[in-house]
Amino acid sequence: MSGTYLGMPAFPEAAAVSTQNAQLRANLSHATRTIRDKRAAAVAELTDWPELRQSGREIKDHTLRHLDRYLLQLEEAVTAAGGTVHWAADAEEANRIVADLVKATGEREVVKVKSMATQEIGLNEALAAEGITAYETDLAELIVQLADDRPSHILVPAIHRNRTEIRDIFADRMATWGRPAPEDLTDSPAHLAEAARLHLREKFLRAKVAVSGANFMIADTGTLVVVESEGNGRMCLTLPETLISVVGIEKVLPTWNDLEVFLQLLPRSSTAERMNPYTSLWTGTTAGDGPRHFHLVLLDNGRTDTLADEVGRQALRCIRCSACLNVCPVYERAGGHAYGSVYPGPIGAILTPQLRGTASEVDASLPYASTLCGACYDACPVAIDIPEVLVHLRERVAEQGTGHRAERAALRAATWLLDHPAAYTAATRAAVGTRRLHPRRLPLPGPAKAWSDTRDLPAMPEQTFRDWWKKNRGEGKTAR
């Protein structure tokens, strides 16, 4: 994936810092709680939500299980409609294809619709290295780009910033990128949105090349779908002469009518709306209306590795709604940056280690960045069993050894003990027998210290339950 995140600390270390950031905690808590209740209300409006969720899950599973067939069908339909399809095995190849396409137009700048796939491959950095400037046009992406920051949420990349911080970023940085912010800029969201409108409009009107992702691609018609709110997507998808869409291979759906499921699931799950303000759908090119040249770059970049894992492949159902982030108590406190990836939160904790592998410290730590509370699974509109995949990936990490030797030894010893009741009874009896010696906090490093930094250890009781039972109920009752 993107090199931007190389050298990130593991999740626990990053989270230890971010949880201490009171401003970040306040911003995240406010934002996720705002959307959580609204989403619940939006979902409750549909009495058939469980059935829609089941259909969404089954359509995605069916498509993934026949992905080669549907991609070939898509390629044929897009080509027949006047588009050009490119295949990219990895980030580098995708970036190369896009850079070459832009250079072939003779342009040095592009406008961009918010896209997770292009974030994932680090497209902006790759284009910059070729002398091409990419302008992000989504409000939150603009904030992140102006602040030279990193996204921390799938839907709202600047969720870690509050309105006052955004005002300051606009006032300080807009002039460097184009039209300056108005002198009298306040921190009211309406004023901030107006400033973004003025700043970006000149870019939209002169842009010759746009880069987008897509929420869905329809195999039987060759249609691409982009779901958005602000109208920046429509600007990019309609005004320029050349449109380049970089889309993960898992975004394909078999038929046009399948949209009736996903366009009910996605808006309610992501922004808690019955329908997002704007949805653009296009099939190849249309004479006299919109871009004259359309290129579709189909991106693998680790998706086929994910597909090969029978448990983990369900992560490819993800429609990037970010409902799992908004309900996750770990995300709410650690923030998105701690996940060291453009995909933060619960979905990131299962997607990133599958796309990038688990070799690096941060990637190996992600499957453990969850209490397995299950709130994400409940919220997921395509029923990805995130806890199941987390546990599955923990097995993978535990097996690879590095950093888990001591843990493995300890757990093996514990399991042996638990599998030998006589020894187990003796051990627990010994523990309660020395109960007066057990301290409530431990100065030594290790798991006990990690526990007792903020919590007292439990006191040992006078006797174990099994000893009590033996003494009080044991005689003549226990058959075994």
């Binding site: 959307i35 295949w87 969201p189 009736e260 009910q264 329908m275 759908l281 209306d289 919109g290 090969a308």
Partner: protein, 211 residues
């Protein structure tokens, strides 16, 4: 053609080695075709309510009221120029005077439209449950950019164009046509996940429902 194409396809096939080639698992579609009754007055009422909920301004009237209503909306907005698709019914502008009319054609640029106050169009259909208007560059709609660049969009929806739900709408739409689905004015939730109206698209959407 490209080697990456073959590489990716080969990887997919290898990844799916556990999936029987003949597998054909059924996809259950037990969701509802619609969540609301489908009588005409009911559909219009739900559409109006949902449009208003997302801060579109809704007007209701008859075909005969339309010219006066359009003239009034332009006047209230203070628009001195209006963009229209080439095939907009001439009667719709019958009561408009003293306003520059820009008729859509390939020669009209985004910059031209940026200087226009209002755009008036019809639509392909509307979805009551979601408060959505669908434009597909068909009759009385013009090119996609027409309804994008001006800040004020007046959209006329005939009663017989309103359907209840997405499952009712999709089979009526032609995927080969470029489509814009509009549910209220431009909006953003990017600041503190709180919805505010108005960024790049038309910040004012007025919908005229013709009974």
């Amino acid at each position: 053609m490209s080697s990456s194409r073959e590489r990716v396809l080969a990887r997919i096939r290898a990844a799916l080695a556990d999936v029987p080639a003949t597998e054909d698992r059924p996809v259950h579609r037990d969701y509802l075709p619609t969540h609301i009754p489908e009588d005409r007055p009911g559909l219009l009422a739900v559409l109006a309510e949902n449009l208003a909920d997302y801060r579109a301004v809704v007007h209701r009237g008859t075909e005969a009221d339309l010219p006066e209503l359009i003239a009034r909306l332009l006047g209230e907005r203070g628009s001195t120029s209006v963009a229209v698709p080439a095939d907009l019914p001439a009667a719709w502008l019958g009561a408009v005077t003293g306003v520059r009319v820009v008729t859509d054609s390939p020669a009209v640029t985004p910059g031209d439209l940026d200087a226009v106050g209002t755009v008036i169009t019809g639509c392909a259909l509307a979805v009551a449950e979601t408060g959505t208007i669908v434009l597909d560059a068909g009759p009385a709609q013009g090119r996609r950019l027409l309804t994008l660049v001006p800040d004020h969009h007046v959209c006329v929806v005939r009663g017989d164009q309103v359907v209840a739900s997405l499952p009712r709408a999709l089979p009526l739409l032609d995927p080969t046509r470029p489509q814009t689905w509009i549910s209220g004015p431009s909006a953003t939730s990017d600041i503190e996940l709180d919805r505010v109206e108005g960024v790049h698209g038309p910040r004012c959407l007025e919908v005229v429902l013709i009974e």
